[in-house]
């Protein structure tokens, strides 16, 4: 299991979702991706995208204007 980071700051939705989607395509099941965003819409959109595609959000942290969403990549 590897942990990766994606900087999606200053991007407005749906770009953080698109970047997350494209990054996860390259990862293995069980890998984790930590996405950092500044668009508050990402708090809804990224977890929704994860749910419909079977990935798991394992943590969300909001600090000042930054949001960090940690995703575990689905294996199925």
């Amino acid at each position: 299991m590897n942990i990766y980071q994606l900087d999606a700051r200053r991007l407005l939705c749906p770009m953080p979702v698109i970047r997350t989607q494209n990054f996860i395509k390259k990862l293995e099941a069980g890998d984790q991706l930590e996405v950092t965003c500044t668009d508050p819409g990402a708090l809804i959109d990224v977890p929704t995208w994860c749910r419909i595609n079977g990935h798991k959000v394992i943590g969300t942290i909001t600090e000042e204007d930054e949001i960090r969403i940690t995703i575990e990549v689905d294996g199925s």
Binding site: L12, C13, P14, I18, G41, L43, T48, I52
Partner: protein
């Protein structure tokens, strides 16, 4: 028997939701596809202005309601040619709707070929839209996209020639629909039948290029540049703030509230920025070229939009993006009468 697979163009509106549901109900495996052109109303603009709570992305929400995967594809670069050189021209504003639909179906056709899917579905209805959804345009989209009879429009299929999935028996044509015209009643009734009560706007309004005010700003940008080009930052900034062009060679982009000011902050490295140092007021970006006289004029306009508008003098900090140098200009706020109506883009 092989389970057939379709990709549905999901806009986030009701029609694509109904079309997808109709095909899911026939036992077809459906996944959604959504294209981000940069002009989509759906998505990012809600993040700019302050709201009580962030708005959902309706394409994602629709996919979740339908229980299907959604692939969001960035087509910003490729889409430029559609906006700049539409083969079929523009609609009422600078909306290249027919070229746009053909482009999206073409991208979907490429996607199904790459991903081994069988056909494409859309929520199009004959007569629903004046430019892109007419009886005459339906075959144009099918042909120019290269999708031909792999393109199925479930909501009006019975008014159109038989397509591959119908001919092969993958879907039952009798269970598809014969909607036509601008009325939304058939869609509303079908939504009720499917027990769908929550959905986004019934039709239209998904693209900034159909918006008169936005189109005017984009045309102004092209006119001042002398050519029809744009980058993503250009089209994002056209969605934000009040745009005033007091001189042909520069314009001001004035934040209208905290959310927009915060968004404009992100562009300080690319644009010279003005903001009152001792009064509450907006962040303003200058786009174009300007000399000291222009800067004085711009500062006076900015002062007009601050809480010091009735004072004799207001200090405006000008941060030059090239070298980061900040200079303070003390200016008399421009009177509202001196801010000419034609400056507003």
């Amino acid at each position: 028997m092989t389970k057939r697979k379709a990709v549905a163009l999901i806009s986030g509106g009701l029609d694509s939701m109904l079309a997808t549901r109709a095909i899911l109900d026939q036992g077809i495996h459906v996944e959604g596809i959504n294209f981000f052109t940069g002009f989509c109303v759906e998505g990012h603009t809600h993040a700019i202005r302050k709201h009580d709570k962030p708005k959902r992305n309706n394409a994602l929400w629709t996919a979740e309601q339908l229980g299907i995967k959604l692939h969001i594809i960035d087509v910003i670069e490729e889409y430029k040619d559609i906006v700049i050189n539409p083969r079929h021209g523009y609609g009422a504003h600078i909306n290249p709707c027919l070229d746009c639909k053909g482009f999206m179906v073409k991208k979907a056709r490429e996607w199904i070929e790459e991903n081994d899917f069988d056909f494409i579905i859309t929520g199009e209805v004959i007569g629903q839209r004046p430019m892109s959804q007419r009886k005459q345009t339906m075959p144009i989209i099918a042909a120019e996209s290269g999708a031909h009879d792999r393109l199925l429009r479930p909501l009006c299929a019975q008014n159109l020639p038989v397509t591959l999935p119908e001919r092969e028996g993958w879907v039952d044509r009798e269970k598809l629909f014969d909607f036509s015209g601008r009325s939304r009643k058939p869609q509303m009734a079908l939504a009720k039948q499917y027990e769908i009560s929550d959905y986004a706007q019934p039709a239209g309004g998904c693209c900034f290029l159909t918006d008169a005010a936005y189109s005017t700003k984009l045309q102004d940008l092209w006119r001042q540049r002398g050519d029809k080009t744009y980058e993503l930052d250009d089209i994002m900034l056209l969605k934000v703030g009040r745009h005033l062009r007091p001189q042909p060679h520069y314009k001001l982009i004035i934040g209208r509230e905290d959310g927009e000011n915060r968004f404009l902050e992100g562009y300080r490295r690319q644009f010279t920025a003005l903001r009152a140092s001792k009064h509450n007021g907006p962040l303003v970006l200058l786009d174009g070229s300007f000399n000291n006289e222009d800067l004085q004029q711009a500062a006076r306009i900015v002062a007009r939009y601050t809480q010091g508008r009735d004072e004799e003098s207001v200090d405006i900090d000008v941060t030059h993006h090239i070298n980061g140098v900040v200079e303070t200009l003390s200016v008399k706020p421009m009177s509202s009468d001196d801010i000419q109506q034609q400056w507003h883009i």
